[in-house]
């Protein structure tokens, strides 16, 4: 039987980050990826916040296949026939080191895996890890393609639907309220067209979030990210609402309706749809995390539930990269003592707790409850749009004072909820 020091399951951001760190420390590592190539099974929204992970692999980032650095953030509330946007531009976002980048998972991970291989790790594609070798609950290796490969430690980096963490007994059943479905279309446009339509210079990009009638009252949002030569346009829908509301509408029909909105049509006009994808996302933050370590096993990235909607920022990719690197660090320490027991590997959790990953997830631990509020996706965007319409429109009738219009709208039943919800959002 073959034996290696460490096996990483999944060549996504977390797995590749772990493998890169291990290989850099000359620790024997085998990466097993089930897709035809690294990235073949990855889907991103996607934007990566760069500053938290910048210092991890400084030698890599200059040549990474970033799509565009984000210089403008747009939040848009939509009602059936109107929308209200808040646009935030920041010249500082144009200074290096850039604050955040859009990436495309398949392109990025293909490149990242090359770097990992150059460091001396072995990456094998087209193999799914079918099982773990377990001995009294201790993980001793993997079963892949009918063969057994022994390892001192296995790092489960096999994504949100991680089967490895389940097989190791580290995570239980997934509940609908803790997850959302993301559906996305990639629409190809020339870089010049993108820059013209979005008022961007070369390499600059925007990120836009949409809330309101586009999800028909279901918990969720729309997103638009500009990549180098294409746009990522999609919807995120809470699985509980998707199941319970039973609106007799398929997720891809909602996406199509989104694409047909007057805010979107001129942006994608003439573009060619080149990919349609979907994946579930963890929405529960720290509460939904599985156990992160066991005898001979660690869990990193999405497999460990390290993704979260924090209201105005959607996080995940930087958590994946950082947790992969910290898992590798724990393995390095375990190897020094030649002790890969759960006790030794628990160092991983200690390292996480000192890092931004745990701190951010912990700070925003109440966010899922605050954001699971139907008013945020229905009444409030509607209220904002109605109020703007009344303030902006000059009709046949004499116009009322601004204060009369605003107080009339706010005196509705909604005012108290708005006050209460604003307070909860404030404290989130």
């Amino acid at each position: 039987m073959t034996k290696v020091t460490s096996i990483v399951v999944g060549a996504g951001l977390a797995g590749l980050s772990a493998a890169y760190s291990l290989a850099r420390d000359s620790i024997d590592v085998l990466v097993v990826e089930r897709g035809d190539y690294p990235g073949a099974k990855n889907i991103t929204g996607g934007r990566m916040y760069f500053l938290p992970i910048r210092s991890l692999f400084p030698e890599l980032w200059d040549e990474a296949p970033w799509e565009r650095h984000i210089v403008r953030e747009v939040l848009t509330g939509v009602s059936k026939c109107s929308s209200l946007s808040i646009e935030f531009s920041n010249q500082k976002y144009n200074n290096k080191p850039y604050h955040s980048f859009t990436i495309l998972g398949s392109r990025f991970n293909k490149w990242f895996a090359q770097k990992v291989a150059e460091k001396g790790a072995r990456v094998i594609n087209k193999y799914k890890v079918d099982d773990l070798i377990l001995d009294n609950g201790k993980v001793k290796g993997i079963v892949v393609g009918g063969a057994q490969i022994e390892a001192d430690v296995v790092i489960a980096a096999d994504g949100t639907m991680s089967q490895i963490a389940e097989k190791a007994g580290l995570r239980g059943k997934r509940e609908p309220q803790d997850f959302a479905l993301g559906v996305k279309e990639v629409i190809a446009l020339s870089p010049q067209t993108i820059e013209g339509r979005f008022r961007l210079k070369a390499d600059e990009g925007i990120a836009q979030l949409f809330v309101g009638s586009l999800t028909k009252g279901m918990l969720g949002a729309g997103f638009l990210y500009t990549n180098r030569d294409c746009i990522s346009l999609g919807l995120v829908l809470g699985i509980k609402d998707l199941t319970d509301c039973h609106l007799n509408v398929m997720p891809y029909e909602l996406l199509e309706e989104f694409k047909l909105r007057p805010e979107i049509v001129p942006l994608i006009n003439g573009g060619e749809s080149v990919e349609y994808s979907a994946h579930v996302l963890s929405e529960s933050g720290i509460k939904g995390m599985p156990k992160l370590f066991g005898d001979g096993i660690l869990v990193a990235g999405d497999a460990a539930g390290m993704a979260m909607n924090m209201g105005l920022t959607v996080r995940g990719m930087e958590f994946a990269i950082a947790s992969g690197a910290l898992a590798a660090e724990a393995v390095r320490m375990a190897k020094k003592q030649n002790d890969f027991s759960a006790g030794a590997l628990s160092k991983y959790q200690d390292l996480l707790k000192e890092s931004f990953v745990w701190k951010d997830l912990n700070t925003f631990r109440h966010a899922p409850d605050v954001l699971a509020n139907p008013r945020l996706f229905g009444e409030y965007p509607q209220l904002a749009c109605t109020m703007m319409e009344k303030l902006m429109t000059v009709g046949e009738e004499p116009k009322k004072k601004l204060s009369t219009t605003i107080s009339k709208e706010l005196r509705s039943r909604l005012a108290l909820s708005l006050l209460r919800d604003s307070f909860r959002f404030w404290r989130m």
Partner: protein, 93 residues
């Protein structure tokens, strides 16, 4: 509501279907199910119902997202990833 042919959307992607389905149903549980949310939560319309109210799986179109497994209230879906080197292969991601 706009009419969308899901086949047109899926035609944008590269699929390498395996011989055997990676998704299996416990039809007995499905027969007793009143919700049948698999029919409307799946973004690839993998699940359809015939005239005898039996649920069918078109596993070749699966985007491997995981929604059906999480949504199914009866744990009637035996969910797995396709065997290595098969299933959908994203070029952009």
């Amino acid at each position: 509501m706009v009419e969308v042919n899901i086949k047109d959307k899926l035609a944008l992607d590269t699929f390498k279907p395996a011989k055997e389905s990676h998704l299996k149903l416990n039809q007995e549980l499905c027969r007793g199910c009143k919700v049948r949310c698999c029919l409307f939560v799946c973004p690839a319309r993998v699940y359809t119902m015939d005239e005898q109210s039996e649920i069918h799986i078109e596993f070749e179109a699966c985007l491997e997202c995981g929604t059906c497994l999480i949504a199914c209230p009866h744990n009637a879906i035996q969910w797995n990833y396709p065997q290595g080197g098969f299933g959908v292969q994203f070029r952009y991601g």
